[in-house]
Assembly symmetry: C2
Homo-oligomer: 361 residues x 2
């Protein structure tokens, strides 16, 4: 059997044993990986053994580092663009870095103050979201994405009915997150103000304070409480309301910082175009944020992203919300070669403050 294997394979095997892959990843090897990631993020250039020992005092010679690098490459954490070039971290390498080698870098006190100050000026839900997304883009110097508070996690604050014309009613839904949805309802016949008033008060009695998805259940029986001739109108209004409540695709998203994509570097159009295309598709963005874990920060690196166009980018996202439960998500999209600790710190801090702002208003 042995003899059937190629010389290369035998060589690789020998090396593996020699380098003791069995004791999985000793300390120094991890330190080397960390150093490679840090240097590469800084310089954008493949990093070699000599430069590495010069900048980080690892206490060993370049030759030793070279051995470690060879082992790391065997294990798929780093990769060589071509023989006799330095090494570049792979997606797997970044993954290890994020999971075990990096600490989220907390924002400095002045930075926190600045965030707070910037967000406090907002007057409006739109304004909060707009400010948040710009802030995030500026802090991370990358593309920022913020989702509006989702309807499905919100509760009803108020429902308003406004007669615009004899048979036209405007339905306005206000949620506890400050979001306002409106729909024009064409009624089957003229609607009297008294009916409207009654409907309004019954709707609010049944719905206020409840999470949106529960509302249809509590209002189902409503038409029965009205005179037969008014029931068609009530039904139409209810139907429109339910539709509005259910409209998951009305999830909205705001984007900022696309100009930062131009800092990606070299092989430009190839990298940037698919990303811009992805960013234009609300659906893609929503799915992207949707994949965020409900608790804690999610980092998706390179090919871990489902969407192909984003295979050379990483996405750092997190839920935010008033109080403990998250009502929506926000995040940052950048090159896999990004400053993970810093980005994660910024994302976390911004999410926290937005949550507070929303809780206050």
């Amino acid at each position: 059997m042995y003899s059937e294997r190629s010389a290369d394979e035998r060589k690789a095997d020998a090396r593996r044993l020699d380098r003791r892959e069995i004791r999985p990843l000793d300390e120094r090897r991890l330190a080397v990986l960390r150093a490679i990631v840090q240097d590469y993020v800084g310089t954008e250039e493949p990093v070699g053994s000599k430069a590495l020992v010069e900048r980080h005092n690892l206490g060993v010679s370049p030759a030793t580092v070279r051995n470690d690098m060879a082992a790391l490459e065997d294990d798929g954490f780093i990769h060589q663009p071509h023989t006799s070039a330095g090494r570049i971290p792979t997606d797997k390498g970044y993954r290890l870095f994020v999971d075990r080698l990096a600490e989220v870098k907390p924002m400095s006190a002045p930075e926190r103050r600045a965030i707070r100050h910037f967000l406090d000026g907002a007057v409006d839900l739109d304004d909060v979201v707009a400010r948040t997304v710009r802030l995030l883009a500026q802090l991370t110097r990358q593309v920022a994405v913020v989702q509006y508070p989702s309807l499905s996690r919100s509760t009803v604050r108020h429902i308003e009915l406004v007669a615009l014309a004899p048979a036209k009613v405007m339905l306005v839904l206000i949620t506890n997150t400050g979001r306002v949805e409106q729909r024009l309802v064409d009624c089957p016949g003229t609607v009297g103000e008294s009916v409207l008033a009654e409907l309004r008060s019954r709707l609010n009695a049944g719905a206020v304070g409840r999470p949106l998805p529960e509302v249809p259940g509590t209002l189902e029986e409503l038409p029965g409480a009205f005179e037969p001739e008014d029931r068609p109108t009530v039904s139409v209004v209810l139907a429109t309301l339910f539709e509005t409540l259910a409209e998951q695709n009305e999830e909205r998203i705001m984007l900022a910082g696309t100009a930062n994509l131009t800092r990606f570097g070299h092989d430009f159009p190839l990298t940037i175009q698919p990303v811009l295309e992805a960013l234009e598709e609300q659906v893609v963005l929503l799915r992207l944020l949707g994949e965020t874990a409900d608790a804690g920060m999610t980092v998706r690196i390179g090919h871990e992203n489902e969407y192909e166009g984003l295979n050379s980018t990483s996405v750092v996202s997190v839920g935010y919300g008033s109080g403990d439960q998250s009502v929506a998500k926000l995040g940052v999209i950048g090159p896999t070669r990004m400053d993970y600790p810093g980005t994660m710190g910024a994302v976390r801090a911004v999410a926290r403050y937005v949550g507070q702002i929303m809780a206050e208003s």
Copy 2:
């Protein structure tokens, strides 16, 4: 005096006389310019005299065309990147082309049907704007910009007051263009439902149907009609309303097609970055559209744009609206080297249909 002038100057003078710049621009010379613009837009490469006579049957030899080109260059309509290269139109050349040499290219019937069909599906003002901007980006394969119907041109359809808490009132303003603005009002004291009802009906009596800028005038005296103890509340609500009405900066804009920027070509990052930056600034975009003439289409070519980052782009914009007067603007941003007739045709067609849709709803 004459002897003080350089040889170059004398030569240029001589040529000018020789070529009879006095009889301003004869037919063939214009045809040459038109052909240069068309070819350059198609190929993105400097166009030479030989290629020109081959593709357009101008009925003259390359040598003749060369003479015409020299004249056109003297007059600043075209320009040579370097000796012995073909010619490229200048901003001035494009200007002449747009003003005198090009016809707006009407959309074909199927295209018109597609536009109509695509826009008809909209349910909502947001939806109309979103669909419009995407459509425009797709049709022109460039960056599209659509402004929401401006508040200052709209009239009030309805004002609603909703008591959310004893001292908190939500003010909702609905305009005839379907736009809805809401503001949270902190009242100085508890607000009774009867006061609220009276205020609501008086507000609507005074404001409905009026253009937003006129509203403050008609409501000025309102506090006087209430009991002294309610006046502070009325004043606060009014103040918030006026603020909302006046908030010109609440002009909103929607954008699509940024991915098309990647088709710009060669000197990529340099061209695209300032454009992306400009597009991030709502203010810049608003000013850009603001410069659009009230009637007819506006084309701003290259350096005609005030904003420096857009000096290598052209902007085609037009007002749209229900009926005859325009309520907002929309447009397209692309390289100066764009298909002007086609772009103008698309912009005009889309604007027309959006206007119709708005008039219907």
